[in-house]
């Protein structure tokens, strides 16, 4: 028995990035297991009125000094309540949980594809792969692109798009990726894709990579209760039956997830 993955952390900052997005910086009060890019934490407020009741899953955004950072979008009741927590508040953490991104081989060129808040799990991967990865980052508008200066430093090449054209290319990020692949494909290049974003982005990505042999990892999101594979609440339908996003994911191969529509 070991409680290292169940710990309390103090909020040192809950910074508003724009009206809908916050960066939460947490300092664990006890020793923790080092997280790998792609892993996540169940985060709870311990509210005595049971609101929220369940913990919420958040990807690790960045491990920085002695803190853990979480980039989140305020979307429902849970994230709204968490956004109201101030400096000094104590939260209940379970993690790091789930699998992580397999690292690219030496002869593979990693491509990181983020749509909107999908940058959250990919940022620490970009940092880990500094100087090696091409980063493709799309959002609805300029205000929803975060930490571009850092990403520029991490990236071998950084490609940006916005739906409204307020920054970078106008249009979907998968179109930018498609252009890149057309220009950069050669018999000697082996691309490896890591992607996170909304479901329609995964579908366009599937249309691009399907049949090309490009290994593509996607990070999924699902409502979760336990985070450790016990409640079976967060399953995704794969070619090999239902798999728990929390335990067998959150990182999956795209062909295991989209085989049904494909």
């Amino acid at each position: 028995m070991n409680l290292i993955r169940y710990f309390k952390a103090r909020i040192s900052e809950n910074r508003q990035l724009n009206g809908e997005h916050n960066l939460l910086t947490l300092v664990p009060l006890t020793g923790i297991n080092e997280p790998e890019p792609g892993q996540f934490y169940m985060t709870g407020t311990g509210a005595c009125n049971y609101d929220p009741l369940l913990k919420r899953p958040f990807s690790l955004f960045r491990r920085k000094n002695n803190s853990l950072q979480i980039l989140y979008r305020i979307k429902g009741r849970g994230t709204s309540l968490i956004s109201g927590l101030g400096e000094g508040a104590i939260v209940d953490m379970l993690g790091p949980l789930g699998n992580s991104y397999p690292m690219p081989a030496h002869n593979e060129t990693p491509l990181i594809i983020a749509g909107g808040i999908g940058i959250a799990p990919l940022f620490s991967l970009a940092e880990r792969l500094a100087g090696r990865a091409y980063i493709f980052y799309g959002a609805r508008t300029r205000d929803e692109l975060f930490f571009l200066a850092e990403l520029k430093v991490f990236a071998k090449g950084l490609f940006i798009s916005t739906d409204d054209g307020s920054y970078g290319e106008k249009g979907a990020i998968i179109a930018v990726l498609n252009d890149f692949l057309t220009r950069h494909s050669s018999p000697v290049t082996r691309h490896l894709i890591y992607a996170c974003g909304p479901a329609p982005m995964f579908e366009s990505l599937w249309n691009v990579v399907r049949g090309t042999g490009i290994k593509t990892y996607v990070t999924l999101e699902e409502n979760m209760a336990c985070g450790i594979g016990a409640c079976l609440g967060c399953v995704v339908n794969t070619g090999d039956g239902h798999k728990s996003v929390c335990k067998e994911g959150p990182v999956f191969l795209i062909n295991d997830i989209l085989h049904i529509t494909g």
Binding site: M1, D51, L53, L54, K55, C226, I228, L232, V235, H242
Partner: protein, 306 residues
């Protein structure tokens, strides 16, 4: 102090067990909790054959509760016996196996195949599932059907038999009596309360299955009332559950008539919840000079007769 309780022929070292479906097959939580400190581990419901369960989304939070429509996904009895039970045998705790079937025959066969395994201390029978043969009506909502299916299972096992009651009935005492008459050794209650939630933006149900089972603190008052009613209606040990978050909640269930309690949804919020509940019960006993936990069963003081 004596924490042990009798659940019919089953002796639990203490009154705290885990609720089926919230604790996996035990190993998922063994990192956070010493399973030997528990009165019992009730594993996720099993059927003869593996089940894929319902499509996602399967869960959503509601005020002080959660809805789930997992749909009884499980690995099947054979794999459980081969891959999960050996792990549980290492611990000094009672292993209680929850099971179900979709016909009388499947219930009996499931009970039979579990009964020959080494290391299972009791069976908990889930009667809140639909009967395929009889137009998908629920085994646990018609007393005649409950009596028949419990009778069939009773003939198929020598193990202590706990019947888990559904709260989705007009009068739970009627079903409790049917289970008791059919030879149940104990009853556990309550299972989840059927509910639903709608996303008003998309106008779609939140759960793919539309309806799901409500659990968590929101259902505790209902669960408590049903335990109290059942305690006054049948002479069987009861395992009380439904929204137990802490030892105060657990003691309420015992005062209402439960011999033991199961911690369910709380496991998701605090993986150490069952141990915290147990510690709180010990503290309560010390503070109130209660030598044996069984003494508080049904100890609610009231001037009214039920």
């Amino acid at each position: 102090m004596d924490l042990s309780v009798s659940i019919g022929p089953l002796r639990l070292k203490n009154p705290v067990v885990t609720a089926s479906g919230t604790f996996g097959y035990g190993e998922e939580y063994s990192e956070f909790i010493d399973l030997s400190s528990l009165g019992g581990v009730v594993v996720k419901g099993l059927s003869l054959l593996p089940k894929e369960g319902n499509p996602p989304p399967r869960i959503t939070e509601t005020p002080a509760g959660m809805l789930n429509a997992v749909g009884l996904q499980n690995i099947g009895i054979e794999r459980f016996l081969r891959e999960k039970l050996p792990f549980l045998r290492q611990f000094d705790t009672s292993v209680i196996v929850n099971f179900f079937g979709d016909s009388m025959d499947e219930y009996s066969k499931a009970a039979e195949s579990l009964s020959s395994a080494d290391g299972i201390h009791a069976l908990e029978m889930n009667i809140s599932c639909p009967n395929k043969q009889a137009g998908w009506c629920i085994f646990g909502t018609d007393p005649k059907v409950t009596f028949e299916v419990v009778t069939a299972v009773r003939r198929s096992t020598h193990l202590p038999l706990i019947v888990k009651l559904s709260p989705n009935v007009t009068d739970i005492r009627v079903i409790a009596r049917a289970a008791a008459d059919a030879g149940a050794d104990a009853l556990s209650l309550i299972n989840t309360i059927t509910g639903m939630a709608i996303d008003i933006r998309t106008r779609r149900p939140v759960l793919a299955n539309i309806t799901g089972g409500l659990s968590g603190p929101a259902i505790k008052p209902v669960a408590l009332r049903m335990v109290w009613e059942t305690y006054n209606a049948v002479n069987l040990p009861l395992i009380g559950m439904g929204g137990i978050m802490n030892s105060d909640d657990a003691i309420e269930f015992m005062l209402a008539g439960a011999s033991a309690v199961a911690v369910g949804t709380a496991n998701f919020i605090r993986p150490t919840a069952p141990v915290d509940v147990l510690k709180g019960i010990e503290k309560y006993m010390a503070e109130h000079a209660i030598p044996g936990i069984s003494a508080i069963r049904g100890g609610m003081i009231t001037d009214r007769k039920p």
